[in-house]
């Protein structure tokens, strides 16, 4: 019965979305207040209905209702409760319900917190939001009904793919979707602005916090996925430039550009058409990301169930959404008034450069991701584009971006004095040289890695110098500086934190990519291996029975000289229902490096294959990203964005802490 209630709620939600998508926008066009007022209750009702559907599906998973096909295919009675719940979105059908739920939640947020929006804008935004909901609800109901029944019911389910039974991955999809779907807000505002033909600073003040919320979620979501790959796949890597990874990274790059260009609209009333285009493109890339992952269009190491019929539906959805919005853009955008003037060397100029570099970088990722498809269509050749391609294209484009990132915040609006700013960056320059020399002394190369370490130092010192400059640190009495720091807008602190976080993460990425040490060997019990100053001893291997798997757990003792450092327990698990083995790496972090051990198969002589990685500065990647997300949250708490800030504050930190658990 409960699954039918869920199914019915989903159908009702579609009906409500149809009303919400038509009545308010017609009301806005004809100036009928009563019609426009339909939008708010409709958005709330839609959220309530989709929540009912989501809870119904969750209930079916929790009680293992094997009359529901989706539960059969993705759950099992022996599965721990957490993974029964995460099983809801660990599959295509359920993840679409989560997608729609988050979409409805964002719509409801506009309804609740949008009290001071001009009513026609609010009505139009909510209608556009409903159009997206119509598309995805129809997709869910027509091609991937999560509540489909199966009779007779099997005794037990097929279990969730064991690789997905992991706390990191349990929360990865909700975060990622919150990011993807969050960009729909910027999209809806952009479409509404195009329909109205008016973009003003008030518009940007609304778009920016929503984009920032989405950006924080997406950043945390991508990192969570990367972190999962790092410890669960046992390959010692954290980013593989795989199409599925790129699919989430492209909206991030574009969204980051949007975040910065919206500042220019807000402060200087310039770059308006460009910002609208970025809002459209960011959400379009989120949709294309969903499409690539679910249609089997590209070969990826992460496989999802593919179905050409679904692919066709999503392609249709893409054409209507992206094609429609770009047509609207081509017709209406030329009418958008151009804004304030500025010199090339100015804060605006730096932000334009930031935008150009981010968009071009996103373009290279896009090309690399889709090139196999283009080439196959043209010549039939099968290729894959791997890390070397991105190292030669994406990375060099990031170099000037980072270089300018330290300078930009120093520049004045409209017209700035570059020589004066560079003079204030002497300290950062010295730090960069020092860091580069340090890298040469410690590791000796390669050139790009040395350069990147120098840039990371340049960025962090430059960013902190700008902050110190603002509060006159060391140039005024300390109490005076503290007073100034308190007086500084929260968004300024947020920017400092986020930019510094990128510098920290960048140092981590560079070191991990360039100076990782790895060794594979067969070890007998009691054998020791030395690597990067640490001694690894294999003490014992035990067979252990888990709730729905059996496991070989090794005990590896790490010491440095005479000092005991850590005991790691890497595992190799076998999930009998799916006959699938998985690897659980043992990781000890020293703050400066991760010591990473993976155990393989035993040989006839009783030895075990053991793979050991020394991963320098990898913890910095996670710490840096956490700083970036925190920076976003601090910025959100700014007084300028006080609308709805309490609700966002309550939501966002939860995501941030998850990223590090």
């Amino acid at each position: 019965m409960i699954p039918e209630i869920g199914h019915f709620a989903l159908i009702l939600a579609l009906m409500v979305a149809l009303v919400q998508g038509s009545v308010p926008i017609i009301g806005a066009a004809q100036g009928r207040t009563a019609w426009m007022d339909v939008a708010r209750p409709a958005a709330l009702l839609q959220l309530a209905l989709v929540t009912i559907a989501f809870l119904a599906l969750t209930w079916a998973f929790v009680v293992s209702d094997f009359t529901v096909l989706n539960v059969v295919q993705n759950s099992h009675t022996a599965k721990p409760l957490l993974y029964k719940i995460s099983g809801v979105w660990g599959n295509h059908e359920g993840s679409m319900v989560l997608w729609v739920l988050i979409l409805a939640a964002f719509g409801a947020a506009v309804a609740v917190f949008g009290g001071n929006l001009p009513p026609p804008l609010r009505a139009r935004v909510l209608s556009v939001q409903a159009w997206i909901a119509i598309g995805f609800l129809a997709f869910s109901l027509l091609t991937s009904n999560p509540f489909e029944r199966i009779f007779p019911a099997p005794l037990n389910g097929r279990d969730l793919n064991p690789l997905l039974q992991d706390p990191g991955l349990a929360f990865h999809p909700p975060m990622l979707y919150a990011g993807y779907v969050g960009f729909s807000m910027a999209f809806s505002f952009a479409i509404a602005a195009l329909i109205e033909g008016r973009v003003d600073p008030a518009w940007a003040r609304w778009v920016r916090p929503w984009t920032l919320v989405a950006w924080c979620f997406l950043t945390a979501g991508i990192t969570l996925g990367s972190w999962w790959a790092y410890y669960e796949l046992g390959w010692g890597g954290w980013w593989f430039w795989d199409p599925v990874e790129n699919a989430s990274f492209m909206p991030w790059l574009m969204g980051t550009a949007l975040l910065h260009s919206a500042i220019v609209v807000e402060k200087r009333d310039a770059l308006k058409a460009w910002t609208i285009l970025l809002a459209i493109l960011t959400f379009s890339l989120s949709l294309i990301g969903t499409f690539i992952v679910r249609s089997g269009l590209l070969t990826s190491v992460h496989a999802f169930a593919t179905d050409p019929e679904r692919g066709l539906f999503i392609l249709l959805l893409l054409c209507v959404t992206i094609g429609g919005s770009l047509i609207l853009f081509a017709i209406r955008a030329p009418a958008v008034q151009a804004g304030g003037l500025f010199a090339p060397v100015s804060r605006e100029g730096a932000l334009v450069l930031n935008n150009l570099l981010l968009v071009v970088a996103c373009g290279t990722v896009f090309l690399g991701t889709l090139y196999p498809l283009f080439l196959e269509a043209a010549t039939g050749d099968k290729i894959s584009v791997g890390p070397p391609f991105y190292n030669k294209t994406f990375v060099p484009i990031m170099v000037p971006l980072i270089a300018v990132m330290a300078i930009g915040p120093f520049l004045a609006w409209k017209r700035a004095d570059l020589a004066g700013v560079l003079g204030r960056l002497k300290l950062a320059f010295a730090a960069a040289v020092l860091a580069a020399l340090g890298a040469v002394a410690l590791e000796g190369g390669p050139v790009l890695a040395v350069l990147a370490m120098g840039l990371a130092a340049w960025l962090i010192v430059g960013t902190l110098a700008e902050w110190a400059d603002r509060i006159k640190l060391f140039r005024a009495p300390l109490g005076d500086s503290l007073r100034r720091a308190r007086g500084l807008p929260r968004s300024a602190h947020g920017m400092t934190l986020a930019h510094a976080g990128l510098a920290v993460a960048m140092a981590g990425m560079t070191a991990a990519a360039s100076w990782k040490v790895e060794s594979v060997q067969v070890m007998q019990l009691g054998d020791s291996v030395e690597m990067a100053g640490y001694t690894y001893r294999l003490d014992r291997v035990d067979q252990v029975q888990g709730p729905n798997y059996t496991s070989d757990i090794a005990q590896v003792t790490i010491s440095r000289g005479d000092r005991h450092v850590a005991r790691l327990t890497p595992e190799k698990r076998l999930y009998p229902v799916q006959q699938m083995p998985t690897t659980e790496a043992g990781i000890h972090t020293t703050g400066l490096a991760d010591l990473y051990v993976v155990i393989g198969d035993p040989d006839e002589a009783g030895g075990w294959t053991v793979r050991i990685f020394h991963e320098p500065l990898v913890p910095w990647i996670w710490a840096g990203v956490l700083m970036m997300v925190l920076g976003g949250i601090v910025s959100l708490s700014d007084r300028r964005f006080r609308l709805g800030a309490p609700a966002r504050r309550a939501k966002a930190p939860a995501g941030a802490t998850v990223a590090q658990t």
Partner: protein
């Protein structure tokens, strides 16, 4: 600064960044693509030695052997027409099995053996990677039967 001048500067900046990026991309497309080969392609000698390529097919039954050093594995990858010997030093992925599809990345050594740097297995346990499927289709093995029965 007039509006026109400003636009000129912005267009120039955009153009130079685009040109730079295009040069990088074209350069990388020349040298950094990893082409996909089937065992039959390799047997026919159409793959260059030394260059990084991908080889896909089925792991031949009974061909997996661990060498004496304990960490190098040798096996044969087949598309049911030809098979190519492969050596790989390292831990094999969890889903690596005889008779199952596999994609390996590495290069051809001078003696015709394939030295894999990476062995990729899909997370999907239900079936084999598409590249493997295509390799087998391309080897023509599954088209033979119609001719054979006529």
């Amino acid at each position: 600064m007039t509006r026109k001048r400003r636009r000129l500067y912005m267009v120039l900046a955009a153009m130079s960044i685009l040109a730079g990026a295009a040069a990088l991309v074209l350069g990388a497309l020349q040298s950094e693509l990893t082409y996909f080969y089937s065992p039959t392609d390799l047997a026919a000698g159409s793959a260059p030695a030394g260059r990084s390529i991908r080889l896909g097919g089925l792991v031949e039954e009974g061909s997996v052997e661990r060498l004496d050093d304990g960490v190098t594995t040798s096996f044969r990858v087949t598309d049911l027409t030809s098979s190519v010997p492969v050596t790989y030093r390292g831990l094999l992925p969890d889903l690596f099995r005889e008779g199952q599809g596999v994609v390996t990345e590495g290069s051809l050594s001078a003696d015709g053996a394939f030295v894999a740097r990476e062995v990729l297995a899909k997370h999907d346990e239900n079936y084999m990677p598409r590249e493997v499927t295509d390799a087998l289709k391309k080897s023509g093995q599954w088209r033979d039967p119609t001719e054979a029965t006529e």
